[in-house]
């Protein structure tokens, strides 16, 4: 497998490590890291920062003590524990190799059985069930098609699962992520050779420039 060339930002990796992201962003970070050894290693370094902070005697940790019975409670708990079960088998892999393991439980089968809803101009989407705070969706962009020009109020992160697209920031192929913030107005266009499927996560509604997409926006949950 070729390594991705477009990576997650340090901010996203650090927030994933700290455990402060909404579920939809956790999903896209975990999915990209499953495909990208560079970000996997960088994530490990942010976990190490978390470990170093836990080890350090930071100001906020002073004066916090355990309950008097804490240690004996825990010792009782580990002594009562059943003999350690053998390590659980890893979660069954999704039948579709294009679906990263963390994403599989969110879409059930493979990319071929997704229930799409049209958002116009051939582009289709499927919203994935996550906790509030951010929205995760699969986007289906037919070969050679452009997603309507849009800006963002918040952050939009896009991970390519199949095919490729190109916009003002470059070309994005399988495993690549694009992190778009308020400043970026972009028009992603799918490669002519193949339909493109992406996982896209937003923390605020997109802003489409044209009037029609803007009117349709409240209904389409884009």
């Amino acid at each position: 497998m070729t390594e991705p060339t477009h990576h997650l930002t340090p901010q996203l990796l650090m927030a994933y490590s700290a455990g402060t992201l909404p579920e939809a962003f956790d999903l896209i970070v975990a999915s990209h890291v499953s495909l990208c050894d560079t970000c996997r290693a960088e994530l490990a370094s942010y976990d190490a920062v978390g470990g170093a902070l836990l080890e350090a005697e930071t100001d906020g940790f002073r004066g916090i003590e355990l309950d008097a019975s804490s240690r004996s409670d825990v010792l009782a708990a580990i002594r009562n524990e059943e003999p350690a079960a053998p390590a659980p088998a890893p979660a069954p892999k999704c039948g579709d190799p294009r679906v990263p393991t963390p994403l599989a439980p969110y879409i059930g089968g493979g990319l071929d059985t997704v229930k799409w809803r049209s958002v116009g101009m051939g582009v289709k989407q499927s919203i994935l069930p996550t906790s509030p705070g951010a929205t995760a969706r699969l986007l289906y962009i037919p070969a050679g098609t452009a997603v309507p020009d849009h800006g963002h109020n918040g952050t939009e992160v896009t991970l390519v699962l199949k095919g490729a697209f190109e916009d003002e920031d470059g070309r994005f192929a399988r495993g690549d992520v694009e992190v778009a913030t308020e400043e970026l107005n972009h028009t992603p266009v799918a490669d002519i050779s193949e339909d493109c499927i992406c996982l896209a996560v937003t923390d605020a509604p997109l802003r489409f420039k044209g009037l029609l997409p803007r009117l349709a926006q409240p209904f389409l949950k884009i």
């Binding site: 402060t20 579920e23 050894d37 470990g51 836990l54 350090a56 906020g60 940790f61 580990i78 969110y106």
Partner: protein
């Protein structure tokens, strides 16, 4: 991919952060005089257990391999109050944090077979367990995790790699302690405050752009400190 290559990448990444330049900055010395002086002498002479490596790795391995309760108690006494404090800073009240800290330590015992000193320090491993507990209990959220790597046939990593990782981790702690107060506090808030950058902005009264650039500055400083050592 070979486990060895991944391990090497992990170490290289961590060393991108760690290590304060010598001489150790005054702030670190003032804050942890015992640590500094112990490091200044030979660890093998002054450490109460001459064969003990730093960072609790020997205790954790005896918990893992020998199910040693004595070593578990030592780990408990060190880490359980920290885990409780971490959860309280993340917004939990004292009784829930106590309950969760106990559960985290029971997990440390039950999942000890998954501890791999070539992948993470003891503190880092316990941090990830505590963080997952925080997401599960305090934030009531699912946590998608990356697909685990096949770590290759050999169960034990190369001992020099283990030692290198522990040393990188220790120097990372020193570099964190040596950061200017404001930068260190922002990183602490980002990890332990359970605050988004916008919420940190609201709490500190600093504009969002300033928060982001200060966190970036703090991380750059950590990386720079390490490069000077290499």
């Amino acid at each position: 991919m070979a486990a060895a290559r991944i391990r090497h990448m992990l170490r290289t990444q961590i060393s991108a952060f760690g290590s304060a330049p010598a001489p150790v900055l005054p702030r670190a010395a003032a804050k942890h005089p015992e640590r500094i002086s112990r490091r200044a002498e030979s660890i093998t002479v002054t450490d109460p257990k001459p064969d003990a490596r730093p960072g609790w790795v020997d205790q954790m391995i005896r918990v893992r391999d020998d199910r040693s309760e004595d070593d578990f108690v030592a780990l408990f006494d060190h880490f359980a109050p920290r885990v409780k404090a971490f959860l309280m800073r993340s917004g939990s009240d004292a009784s829930l944090a106590e309950e969760c800290a106990q559960e985290v330590m029971v997990t440390v015992w039950n999942k000890a077979h998954m501890f791999d000193p070539g992948r993470a320090s003891v503190a880092t491993w316990i941090f990830t367990i505590a963080r997952n507990k925080k997401i599960d209990v305090l934030r009531r959220q699912r946590r998608p995790e990356p697909e685990d790597l096949p770590w290759g046939p050999e169960p034990e990593p190369d001992q020099t790699e283990v030692l290198a990782l522990q040393q990188e981790t220790e120097t990372l702690g020193e570099a964190l302690a040596a950061l200017p107060d404001k930068q260190r506090q922002l990183i602490e808030k980002a990890y332990f405050g359970d605050l988004t950058h916008s919420e940190i902005a609201a709490e500190t009264g600093l504009p969002l752009g300033t928060i982001k650039s200060r966190i970036r500055l703090a991380l750059d400083r950590l990386r720079h400190a390490m490069q000077q050592k290499q």
